[in-house]
């Protein structure tokens, strides 16, 4: 069982901080990163259970971040968030090694379920 530590990577701070709080209420330890670069720093420094990464971000996009994370920590499960109505980029992410993808806006229970699946390995 991986640590219940979740890193939320999203440029929309309002979104990520609120989500972090909700996860905390559910017994998770969580932190946020506003972009790919800072997320990589946090992953470098600490041990995380799951990374939840938004695909649409300024600077380094979600897919690029995913590649870097996977290169750095191949065992860290990454759940992608996509704002698109399509499953295409999510599927592309999965082919790059993402654990799964979810579509924004999220259903919290779905996310929790996926996180548990990811933590269980």
């Amino acid at each position: 069982m991986r640590p219940k530590k979740i890193l939320l990577v999203d440029d929309e701070a309002e979104f990520s901080s609120t989500l972090a709080e909700r996860l905390t209420l559910r017994g998770f330890e969580s932190d946020t990163a506003p972009d790919g670069e800072s997320a990589l720093v946090k992953i470098e420094e600490e041990e995380w259970g799951v990374a939840v990464v938004d695909l649409m971000m300024p600077g380094m996009g979600g897919l690029a971040a995913l590649k870097r994370i996977k290169a750095m920590r191949p065992d860290l499960p990454v759940i992608l968030l996509t704002g698109h109505g399509s499953t295409k980029e999510g599927m592309e992410g999965m082919s790059l090694g993402a654990f799964d993808y979810l579509i924004k806006p999220l259903a919290i229970n779905e996310l929790i379920e996926k996180i548990y699946e990811a933590l269980a390995g």
């Binding site: 929309e12 309002e14 609120t18 989500l19 909700r22 559910r26 109505g85 999220l106």
Partner: protein, 575 residues
């Protein structure tokens, strides 16, 4: 860009196409085509027929007239020979025998019998002395001692040495001709041998011309009195019904109406050393018999050819116009499709922009409301907890609705951008069902899904497939009644492709409709449908390298099956 083939302008030669009715326009176009082509093909044929006919007529006429002249000459010659032979025989008798010998009744009788057996045609023969009295006679009548002194036969024979009379009846009451020759011996004594011959021998010569039953040939004298039997131009010794110009030794022909009322050709020529003219009357029709039959043959050939040409033109024009019609309708449908997709494309881009922009704030609202709910849920004592919980749950539900709307908008936008990608058709089907869910719920339609899991992933166009499934599903929903059943089944194909069957228990189609459903502009919904849905569907499936088929029974339902290949036929560059 589309470049449309223009309908050739010559098809509109007679009248420019009217815009009101396409059916009338095609009919007009076809009529113009038939008329113009018929004229340019049949007219030269007709001219050829006329020119040829005229040429044949001329040569045939010349040939017929020449052969008629040859016949006339031959017959005249035969008559001349016949008369000359008999005259020279009489001449020979008058010089070979002495007056005393000829005076002897036994002798003349013997001469007469030899003449009858050897030459034929003789009726009698007699010796007339220089005062005109019949001295001796052999023949059936009693003419001995008869005085011929005043008769033209006697006087002309003395004057010219020989004489051939006109035909006359005389005592004998049948037509005959008198031949007379005058002889003077070395003592200066003169006598005449007078013989009569039967004209039936001349009739025989005329008959031997071999004329057909409608033609006539006979002799007339210089006064136009008929001398031998005529079929239709008068009796013997009566005036001939045809007025002939002066005859010569050379055969002449005149064209005109004969006494029998028939348009005929008359050939005539004078018999030498006589007062007779041989007249041959041949109806134009018999003379130009060959020409007439040739003309009829040519006319038949012309008419049959013209008929075949016109029939062929009719058939070909039908095929051509049908092709023009098909090309036109294809062009029109392509044009509409283009217009439609352009319209959708711009709406799609707008929708995608809006959806993207809305999605993020929506996610924030969702999380904030969610957190509010969480806080209340995890806080045991909270004033108005239930009320607030209802409020936050109402917010999250609304966000959920907005989410499905933005997803749909984005899905719609994606349909416009043609792109080949790896697809799970089960997902595509689920997305499409999202579009029609409300209606199926409202109408209580039982939507049964039998989706094969996992199914082969295929490379295809997401948006186009959405459109295809949506089209067929919408048709199925329209076909069933409320509480109807629609089943969607997906399968993996052996070759790596996938197939989908969408089946309904609706009104179904008859065989005729089934045959035409993929035709552009064919619609059973009258003004409610464009008749394009299934034709576009068909076009898309074909473009993606797939197959679409339908099985249907009236009042039992329809089943559309689409088989999609693992890879589409088109390459990414071609799109």
């Amino acid at each position: 860009m589309y470049k449309f083939a223009k309908t050739p302008s010559w098809l509109y030669l007679f009248k420019p196409p009217s815009e009101k009715s396409p059916a009338a326009r095609y009919k007009k176009m076809r009529m113009n085509m038939v008329v113009i082509t018929s004229i340019v093909t049949v007219l030269p044929l007709f001219f050829m027929f006329v020119v040829n006919s005229w040429q044949y007529y001329k040569s045939s006429k010349n040939e017929s007239l020449a052969s008629l002249q040859v016949l006339e000459d031959k017959t005249r010659h035969s008559i001349e020979l016949f008369l000359e032979e008999r005259l020279s025989t009489i001449r020979f008798i008058s010089s070979a025998y002495s007056y005393e010998e000829l005076e002897d009744p036994q002798k003349i009788l013997r001469i007469f019998s030899v003449l009858r057996t050897e030459l034929g045609g003789f009726i009698d023969i007699g010796l007339i002395n220089d005062t005109g009295t019949m001295i001796s006679y052999a023949g059936p009548y009693t003419l001995l001692g008869k005085d011929y002194g005043q008769q033209p036969s006697f006087q002309k024979a003395i004057l010219k040495g020989q004489y051939i009379s006109d035909v006359f009846m005389g005592y004998r009451a049948f037509p005959h001709i008198v031949l007379a020759t005058h002889h003077i011996n070395e003592n200066g004594k003169g006598w005449i041998i007078r013989a009569t011959i039967d004209t039936s021998s001349i009739d025989e010569i005329v008959r031997s011309m071999g004329l057909d039953s409608r033609s006539d040939a006979f002799l007339v004298n210089s006064d136009g009195i008929i001398q031998t039997k005529s079929l239709s131009h008068g009796k013997i010794l009566e005036k001939c019904t045809i007025n002939l110009p002066q005859s010569t030794d050379k055969t002449q022909t005149i064209e005109g109406v004969s006494s029998s009322g028939e348009d005929s050709i008359v050939a005539f020529t004078r018999v030498k050393n006589t007062d007779f003219t041989l007249v041959t009357v041949v109806p134009r029709k018999s003379l130009y018999k060959e020409w007439h039959s040739l003309k009829v043959d040519m006319l038949i050939v012309f008419l049959v050819s013209a008929f075949l040409i016109v029939i062929t033109i009719f058939k070909i024009s039908k095929i051509l116009i049908h092709q023009v019609q098909v090309a036109d309708s294809k062009r029109e449908s392509a044009f509409r499709e283009l217009q439609h997709s352009q319209k959708l494309s711009s709406i799609g881009r707008l929708a995608a922009g809006v959806a993207h922009e809305i999605n993020n704030p929506l996610a924030i609202i969702n999380e904030k409301a969610g957190l509010m709910g969480d806080l209340m849920e995890f806080e045991p004592e909270f004033k108005n907890k239930t009320k607030f919980m209802d409020l936050t749950s109402a917010i999250t539900k609304s966000v959920e609705r907005c989410r499905s709307i933005t997803h749909r908008l984005l899905g719609f936008a994606k349909r416009i951008d043609v792109k080949i990608e790896l697809l799970d058709i089960n997902e595509v089907i689920k997305e499409v069902i999202g579009f029609v869910e409300r209606e199926t719920l409202y109408r209580k339609i039982d939507l049964q899904l039998e989706l094969k899991q996992p199914i082969h992933l295929i490379s295809s166009d997401h948006g186009q497939l959405q459109q295809v499934f949506l089209n067929i599903l919408t048709n199925a929903i329209n076909a069933v009644t409320d509480h109807g059943v629609i089943s969607i089944e997906t399968r993996s194909e052996e070759d790596g492709g996938a197939s989908i069957t969408i089946k309904d228990n609706g009104c179904g189609m008859n065989a005729e409709t089934q045959k035409r459903i993929f035709d552009p502009f064919f619609s059973t919904k009258k003004e409610l449908g464009t008749g394009l849905g299934l034709s576009i569907t068909y076009g898309i499936i074909k473009k993606l390298g797939g197959e679409i088929s339908v099985e249907s029974k009236e009042n039992e339902g329809s089943a559309f099956t689409i088989i999609l290949p693992k890879e589409p036929l088109i390459t990414e560059e071609e799109q």
